[in-house]
């Protein structure tokens, strides 16, 4: 009857999304009077940290062959853990890993999956955003085992006192047809999907030479940088920074958009942000309709002034 959480790790450490998923699972376990158990695959340390998020037990499959991401193997591990613990709810983060593994597990266990949950379930009913954030759906899972993947940065954390015991868990892994040849990490910069604050800019910045002010402001705020599609398409910025319908969907606490008009396709990728600031010379730019705060003006004048104001605030 317990809640099982798949806690993902990257380079030997648990990810921010893993802690969020753990906390979501623990809140659910607390509400239903059961235990939250996490399962971790591959070489990873610091697992007892999960205790601070409400997990009581961590099952660790430390097999190094899991260090290279293979959703087939991880789905197998989570299925074994489900069977051993008798869990009836399984929680993932709705990130790259969750999107690959949760559907496999759903088919493996014939268990209903709601992906991208934005709130704790109400009974068996889970809320998620649909139509690219333009509506919400309440979806009931009708199977005995339920799988939920949680949209990062969407459910408030709850402090839960406690500590977790870490136990070794061994699983016979299936052989699969996937071989990882190379991993190209784009950079050591803050991951765009995990960032609390994102500073984003578009064609209104006039040219790639003006991006220094975007990066400086981002650095001062501990933020990640992003861009609109046209800017990525003309090569001012790398494609992995493109947010919007065809690029990344993000939902930071604060999204600052400078020189982006706010086409519907761009909004689809950022409309989950908690606070949206829009800086644009065109007072009629559609983005202002989705904004919480707006300044009508030139981005390359406002951004440096913001940097100064923030430095002053911190001082």
């Amino acid at each position: 009857m317990s809640v099982l959480i798949y806690a993902d790790s990257n380079n030997g450490a648990l990810t921010k999304n893993a802690f969020e998923a753990a906390n979501y699972g623990a809140q659910l376990a607390q509400a239903t009077g059961t235990d939250a158990i996490a399962v971790v695959a591959g070489t990873a340390s610091g697992l007892e940290e999960l205790g601070k998020y409400g997990v009581s037990k961590v099952m660790h499959v430390s097999d190094a062959s899991l260090d290279n991401f293979d959703p087939q193997k991880i789905a197998h591990v989570v299925a074994q853990a489900t069977s051993v613990t008798g869990a009836d709810t399984i929680v993932f983060a709705h990130d790259y890993t969750g999107k690959s593994v949760a559907p496999r597990l759903s088919a493996k266990l014939d268990a209903g999956l709601v992906s991208g949950a934005i709130a704790l379930p109400n009974g068996n009913v889970v809320k998620k955003a649909v139509f690219s954030g333009k509506a919400f759906a309440e979806i009931e899972i009708t199977t005995a085992i339920k799988i939920i993947s949680v949209l990062p940065n969407s459910v408030d954390k709850l402090e839960i006192e406690g500590s977790a015991t870490v136990e070794a868990f061994s699983v016979d892994l299936p052989s699969t047809g996937i071989t990882v040849k190379e991993i190209k990490k784009e950079s050591t910069e803050l991951s765009l999907t995990e960032a609390d604050i994102v500073v984003s800019a578009g064609r209104g910045l006039k040219g790639p030479e003006n991006w220094g002010m975007v990066e400086e402001l981002a650095k001062e705020l501990g933020a990640a940088t992003a861009c609109s599609r046209p800017v990525a398409d003309i090569g001012w910025r790398p494609h992995h920074e493109h947010v919007g319908q065809t690029g990344l969907a993000i939902r930071p606490n604060l999204y600052i958009a400078a020189g982006i008009s706010g086409a519907i396709q761009h909004l689809a990728g950022v409309n989950g942000s908690k606070v949206i600031v829009v800086i644009n010379t065109d007072a009629e730019a559609p983005f202002f309709k989705a904004a919480d705060y707006g300044i009508v003006g030139y981005a390359f004048e406002i951004l440096p002034q913001m940097l100064e104001a923030i430095k002053k605030l911190k001082a």
């Binding site: 690959s100 593994v101 759903s106 088919a107 999956l113 690219s132 991993i183 784009e186 705060y293 605030l313």
Partner: protein, 244 residues
């Protein structure tokens, strides 16, 4: 090489989102339906490019009713060789995945391609489910796909970077940006599409695992608060929004 491309019917990006039947059904009145963009731009076009380079066939598959036929014809006009529609009312992702997997297993394909998600339910579920049901690898969010003999060399997005992997044997892939460029069907393609085979097959008897209870629209933003200076903005972000 036998390539299966799964396509879904989706409302046009700019469609008005409204609901009927006590907010339990999407209101299709006046809505223009399109091939789900990720299925069309990335999965279908890359499938066609691979066929053009290496030979083989591209079959498009849709699970849906007769109202899917126009978008299936569009996929044929872009260049698919033939099409299959599994005649069913789509209830949920697992139900649709079972239909696709049953068909794919019976007919044997070297690869099953689809887009990374549909723009209506944004589930990112079908590909992984189909792969599990077929017991083959699943490569999600792939941005490059090349074939070297029977080995697929694929780049996929992972947290903070890109991973290059090799896959041997059949696989399922979900396509993301970078995979291919959209193609616009020409008049010859549109004419040819009319005579290409579109086979309608009966759905297999499968169950679903989820039910949509209702939809809600997000609350209207209370309105944008305009400020004149950067200092004012920073102060509001700090004191009012508590965002910095």
């Amino acid at each position: 090489m036998k390539i299966l491309v799964c396509i879904s019917k989706a409302p046009d990006t700019t469609a008005k989102i409204a609901f009927t039947d006590g907010n339990t059904k999407f209101d299709e009145a006046g809505v223009q339906f399109i091939v789900n963009p990720y299925d069309e731009w990335y999965a279908l076009v890359r499938g066609l490019e691979l066929k053009e380079a290496n030979g083989g066939t591209v079959t498009v598959l849709n699970v849906g009713g007769a109202d899917s036929d126009p978008i299936i014809r569009k996929a044929l006009a872009i260049g698919a060789d033939d099409a299959v529609r599994i005649d069913a009312e789509t209830t949920d992702a697992l139900y649709v995945a079972k239909q696709i997997a049953n068909y794919a297993k019976e007919n044997g394909f070297d690869m099953v391609l689809s887009g990374k998600e549909t723009i209506d339910y944004n589930g990112s579920q079908i590909g992984g489910m189909v792969a599990e049901l077929m017991d083959v690898p699943y490569v999600s969010l792939a941005s490059k796909l090349e074939m070297n003999g029977n080995t697929a060399i694929i780049e996929r997005e992972i947290e903070g970077g890109v991973e290059v992997i090799e896959v041997n044997g059949p696989f399922v892939l979900s396509a993301a940006k970078g995979m291919a460029e959209a193609r616009i069907p020409n008049m010859r393609g549109i004419m040819a599409a009319r005579s290409k085979p579109l086979t309608v097959v009966a759905a297999s008897d499968e169950s679903s695992a989820t039910v949509i209870k209702g939809f809600t629209l997000p609350p209207e933003k209370s309105g944008c608060k305009y400020v004149d200076t950067a200092e004012e903005l920073v102060a509001l972000l700090h004191n009012e929004a508590k965002a910095i």
